[in-house]
């Protein structure tokens, strides 16, 4: 794979107020061996569970067809033919946008009924170039727009449902026609001007919140925003566990060299090893500690790393990653770790394999997993569920 690029694909959604399920669906997939990154956003007819089923059927089929390089028109016809027909409107309806990025090659975007994509190079728009309009003989009233574009390092693609562009519709003269693509574009450009390296997740979130805000915080339609960002990979290093041989401590500690924002130290003994190497003390703020906290408090070695306890915290992080638990519900140290992981693309685990015998004491109130197995689970979750690149080195 091309290691100078990382394709960060993240999304954010709001469900229509009063509905139990989001009527839009987003699915993404990385085909590493082919250097391909696929994403589909679909908006199902109506809202709620029925719309979600339509949207989910669409994204699932579209992703499968993209993956297998099926002919575009045939794919779309199959999707349309498969969706149930609405009794009222007599159409099988789900709009969608499909993105197929080939690193070093052409990126294909196919849209049916969704707002037109936005491509940004820095804060400058790269306007959609001429495209092909395809009409299916099965569904003559539905038009499909096909684009072929070239993405460069630093480019972003923004794809959204009409819940974003039509937000604010009817909310007074400022939004006579809703926020529109132009409003969304200007807002995204401003967000990038404020923070040039804003992550895909942060941009998708801020766009979605703005759309909600324009609708006076009542979500009148499902809001979905997908952002794809081609960037130089952001590397994070997690140091956890003391090395098996003590003489390797210095080499191990030397890995804590990426700076505080990119380095995480998990484990008390590990923190002590780093403390000695960098000759700086861990600072733990007890003032912010809440009574009955389920995890030991996090600290920091200023300028060097975020520091947390080891196996209890990693176990909590693993569970939260595997179960997609919302960040706000997590204890502060686990939240800080996941937040840090989500801001990075490539996560390197530097794992000391020495076992703390005290952790194997059968009188401890709960079983403690061995660090190696826990890191393997976290690495797998980051890889398969969050599309992060991971590497594990043992000491």
């Amino acid at each position: 794979m091309n290691h100078d690029f990382f394709v960060e694909m993240e999304s954010f959604q709001f469900t229509k107020t009063g509905q139990a399920a989001c009527g839009d669906d987003i699915q993404m997939e990385v085909l590493k061996n082919e250097n391909r990154y696929l994403a589909v956003l679909s908006d199902g007819l109506g809202s709620g569970v029925k719309a979600h089923v339509l949207a989910n059927m669409t994204t699932t089929m579209a992703l499968r067809f993209l993956r297998s390089n099926m002919d575009m028109l045939q794919s779309i016809e199959t999707i349309m033919d498969s969706l149930p027909v609405c009794e009222v409107r007599k159409i099988s309806y789900a709009t969608f946008s499909m993105v197929d990025i080939r690193l070093g090659g052409i990126t294909r975007i196919v849209e049916m009924g969704n707002p037109q994509y936005i491509q940004l190079r820095g804060d400058e728009e790269v306007p959609p170039i001429s495209h092909k309009t395809v009409t299916s003989s099965h569904w003559p009233d539905r038009q499909v727009e096909c684009y072929e574009i070239k993405l460069e390092l630093g480019d972003r693609l923004i794809i959204c449902s009409d819940g974003v562009t039509q937000s604010g519709l009817g909310e007074g003269s400022a939004y006579k026609f809703g926020w529109c693509r132009s409003g969304e574009l200007a807002f995204a450009q401003e967000a990038i001007r404020q923070k040039a390296d804003i992550s895909s997740y942060a941009l998708a979130r801020t766009i979605s919140y703005k759309a909600l805000n324009i609708s006076k915080n009542v979500c009148k339609d499902d809001i979905s925003c997908l952002v794809i960002y081609l960037r130089t990979p952001r590397v994070m290093r997690v140091l956890t566990g003391p090395p098996y041989y003590k003489e390797n401590d210095a080499e191990f500690a030397a890995q804590a060299s990426l700076g505080e924002e990119h380095t995480l130290v998990c484990g008390g003994t590990t923190a002590n090893i780093i403390e000695r190497a960098v000759q700086k003390k861990v600072q733990i703020d007890l003032a912010s500690l809440k009574a009955g906290a389920s995890l030991p408090p996090a600290g920091r070695i200023p300028g060097v790393a975020l520091v947390t306890e080891g196996i209890l915290t990693l176990t909590r992080v693993c569970r939260a990653l595997e179960d997609h638990e919302p960040l706000d519900t997590l204890p502060a140290p686990a939240r800080a770790i996941i937040d840090m992981m989500m801001q990075h693309d490539r996560i390197e685990f530097i794992v000391g394999t020495k076992v703390n015998e005290a952790h194997q004491d059968p009188t401890l109130p709960q079983d403690l997993e061995l660090r190696r197995g826990m890191i393997k689970r976290i690495s797998t979750a980051l890889n398969s569920l969050y599309r992060k690149e991971t590497k594990v080195n043992y000491y």
Partner: protein
């Protein structure tokens, strides 16, 4: 006169065996002891593998190890140290 120095271990074993209750010790401190101790949480005192010691959670008060530490044990030792050498 220097304040007493209390170091609380935040390592895994200590936290699981009761250090979680020690971290809020300042709030539970009797009035006469308040303001007389400086509290620091440390990532690990690395005492849990020492079989000669009595068991986690561990704290150090002015460098002296307190085993199976509880708030009451710490308060008692603080009183003794303050009686011997008042601030």
């Amino acid at each position: 006169m220097k304040k007493l120095q209390l170091e609380i271990c935040c390592g895994t074993s200590c936290f699981m065996l009761g250090a979680d209750k020690l971290l809020n010790i300042e709030n539970d401190m009797p009035t006469e002891l308040r303001g007389k101790v400086e509290i620091r949480a440390l990532p690990c005192l690395e005492l849990c593998n020492d079989s000669k010691l009595g068991g986690a959670p561990y704290v150090k008060l002015n460098g002296e190890i307190i085993e199976k530490a509880t708030c009451e044990k710490i308060f008692d030792r603080m009183r003794e140290l303050l009686d011997a050498s008042p601030l």
